[in-house]
């Protein structure tokens, strides 16, 4: 994989996303849900940047904000050095072809009434209106070949396909405009094991052929280990640890990362023998004042319950961790 370190393709600075929730009938205060609380990431060209964490930690929100499907409450987002979060739809249109998203649920993400050709032609017609009908057809054919879809699928509707085939079609749709950057939001979570391998191999091959950059969102740590170059571990809207995949698995620095890794069921067995404390995510409407992980953290001290630790580079390694005691 090729990295040029000072050339991030995507960057977020202090990204915050707050959702206002409906007011409770007993209260006057409008509750605010903190989905992202200051996220700074840089995704390098050509890498697979994984985002992991348990449900509700903000992975999808981060992906959607980068794609411009959500407007951040504050903070900045850059694509190839250009600020994009303040752009309106017309300004954004030229770069939309360059960034695409693959969604988790291949059953919900395809329009049931559009055949495969219509599904794949639509982004070209919308984002590349200069293309002729012949160009569109050629581009659709090429992307079907590239993603291992049969040309005979063009006239078929989504219900005629299995989950794995639909996810191939969703990947083809994301690729049809030749993007440089793809957000893949849990693209294999809904698929069976034997199909997961097919889709991971496809994503890997496409990256090699086209030099794609991936932001790969997942909760499956064994996939990250195999597939990722770098990982951001998120918890309650914050990045807790950011490091190369090798470093995360060899020497996890954040207590939350350590908890996550210890939770992976192993083919060797034996790691579920000891009792585990019940742990719960804090309420994102009333996040704890200090470290969001403090209520579950085995090494938390008073400072953890009052001061939020910032993501900082540790001296001993290149790892970044947001923990008062990580070293």
């Amino acid at each position: 994989m090729t990295h040029s370190i000072n050339d991030p393709i995507v960057e977020t600075r202090g990204l915050e996303m707050r959702f206002s929730l409906p007011t409770h009938f007993l209260s006057r205060k409008k509750p605010v849900l903190h989905a992202l609380s200051g996220v700074d990431i840089q995704i390098q060209k050509g890498e697979t940047f994984c985002v992991v964490g348990e449900s509700g930690c903000g992975k999808t929100t981060l992906g959607r904000a980068i794609m411009g499907l959500l407007t951040p409450s504050s903070g900045e987002i850059y694509f190839r050095g250009e600020r994009i979060d303040t752009m309106d739809e017309a300004e954004r249109k030229p770069i939309r072809a360059d960034m695409q998203m693959v969604f988790q649920n291949p059953y919900a993400s395809l329009n049931p009434r559009r055949n495969v050709f219509q599904t794949l032609a639509e982004p070209i017609r919308y984002l590349m209106p200069e293309k002729s009908g012949a160009d569109v057809r050629a581009q659709v054919e090429a992307v079907l070949d590239a993603t291992g879809c049969d040309q005979s699928w063009q006239r078929k509707l989504p219900h005629e396909f299995s989950g794995g085939q639909r996810q191939r079609i969703a990947i083809a749709r994301a690729l049809v405009t030749n993007p440089a950057f793809i957000v893949a939001d849990e693209p294999i979570s809904a698929l069976d094991v034997s199909i997961q391998a097919q889709i991971l191999n496809l994503l890997n091959d496409l990256q090699d052929e086209r030099g794609l950059t991936y932001m790969f969102i997942t909760h499956d740590l064994s996939v990250v280990e195999h597939f990722g170059d770098r990982v951001a571990v998120m918890y309650l809207g914050q990045v807790m640890e950011l490091a190369t995949t090798d470093a995360i698995y060899r020497d996890p620095k954040h207590p939350y990362t350590q908890l996550l890794l210890a939770a992976i069921p192993r083919l060797e067995g034996g790691s579920f023998d000891a009792p585990r404390e019940p742990g719960e995510l804090p309420d994102p409407v009333n996040p704890p004042p200090g470290c969001p992980f403090a209520p579950r953290c085995p090494i938390a001290q008073n400072i953890c319950r009052s001061e939020r630790p910032l993501l900082r580079e540790l001296e001993t390694s290149g790892t970044m961790a947001a923990c008062h005691f990580a070293e």
């Binding site: 391998a197 579920f272 585990r276």
Partner: protein, 328 residues
């Protein structure tokens, strides 16, 4: 005598005017007291059908067309609804993927637990309450006594599943059937719940049928394993033996396809195609269209389950044990 003995179980659904399709096509299974069995397979393989059929819970229009389910000497498929109620939810408990299948949203946790107990035991409300709190403590629910007054929606998904486990344990069952109990939960919560189920079964000598698609979970929790494909058991045996030396090409493929079994960045082993729907099964071995080892024989006839594997050309022909013995 085994605790549970399932023989040649078939489940079918009507299709078209007179036809039927089979979701289970002759499954055998034996479970000893206190034994933990994992049932693994891709979605649609028939895992849930097996669980429901064991409990004689197949809903119309589906039905058990053949076979027997012998629990402690009685064929559950021949019992009256009244008789089976004394076993189901009492001597055999169930845990489902969605805790809300078990929990009633309009009742407090305490009320549900007390009612469940009183339905099966002639005890006072007071005693039922005491036992319920005891079980909530057993599944490590924080401040258990006060949770008795909580409604299900006031608890997180992980805590709800713990309550379901507490309810499953109320009647001190001999067998628990858990159908994907942690599939909807996060990994850290899954680890908590599975470690809890493992220890509770082991410490109290409770047998377990654990249905999951996760081979890692099965390796952590179960002693025996059954791998299902298209309504049939294709391989069964000791969990350790199968994971270390699978014999059926499908089991081999499933294990090889896991990212943890490939070098980093290398191409993953992939099984081509996908499992056929039960409405469109191939002739012969149901796995042959995807199988690397298939021959004309596989396309013509269904391989019988012999020595724990239903395949004409299994890997490790003599089995892991024999290989190890031969090496000595």
């Amino acid at each position: 005598m085994a605790l549970l003995d399932v023989t040649d179980l078939h489940v079918a659904f009507p299709r078209g005017k007179k036809g039927e399709v089979e979701a289970l096509r002759g499954v055998d299974l034996t479970l000893e007291k206190g034994q933990r069995l994992g049932v693994v397979g891709e979605s649609g393989a028939g895992k849930s059908m097996l669980a429901f059929a064991i409990l004689n819970l197949i809903a119309d229009p589906g039905r058990v067309t053949q076979g027997s389910v012998t629990f402690d000497g009685q064929n559950l498929l021949e019992l009256s609804e009244r008789q089976i109620r004394r076993i189901r939810g009492n001597r055999i408990s169930m845990i489902f993927q969605d805790p809300m299948v078990t929990l009633n949203p309009v009742l407090t946790i305490g009320k549900q637990m007390i009612e469940t107990l009183k339905a099966h035991r002639s005890i006072s409300t007071r005693e039922a309450r005491r036992l319920s709190i005891e079980k909530l403590n057993l599944v490590a629910i924080p401040s258990a006594a006060s949770r008795m007054d909580a409604y299900p929606h006031e608890l997180s998904g992980g805590l709800r599943q713990r309550v379901v486990i507490a309810i499953a344990l109320l009647t001190d069952p001999e067998l628990i059937i858990a159908d994907e109990p942690t599939t909807a939960l996060d990994v850290t919560i899954q680890a908590e719940i599975m470690s809890l189920i493992l220890r509770l079964c082991r410490d109290n000598d409770v047998a377990l049928i654990l249905i999951t698609h996760d081979l890692g979970v099965v390796a952590e929790v179960t002693e025996r394993l059954m791998i299902m494909y298209a309504g049939k058991c294709v391989e069964t045996g000791r969990t350790r033996d199968i994971i270390d030396a699978p014999k059926h090409p499908y089991a081999v493929g499933l294990l090889k396809a896991l990212p943890q079994n490939s070098a980093k960045g290398a191409k993953l082993y992939q099984i081509p195609g996908s499992m056929p729907p039960i409405t469109n099964l191939p002739t012969g071995c149901p796995y042959h269209p995807r199988c690397e080892r298939s021959t004309d024989k596989c396309r013509a006839a269904m391989p019988p389950l012999e020595h724990g594997v239903a395949c004409f050309h299994p890997m490790h022909e003599n089995g892991a044990r024999d290989d190890a013995e031969a090496a000595q």
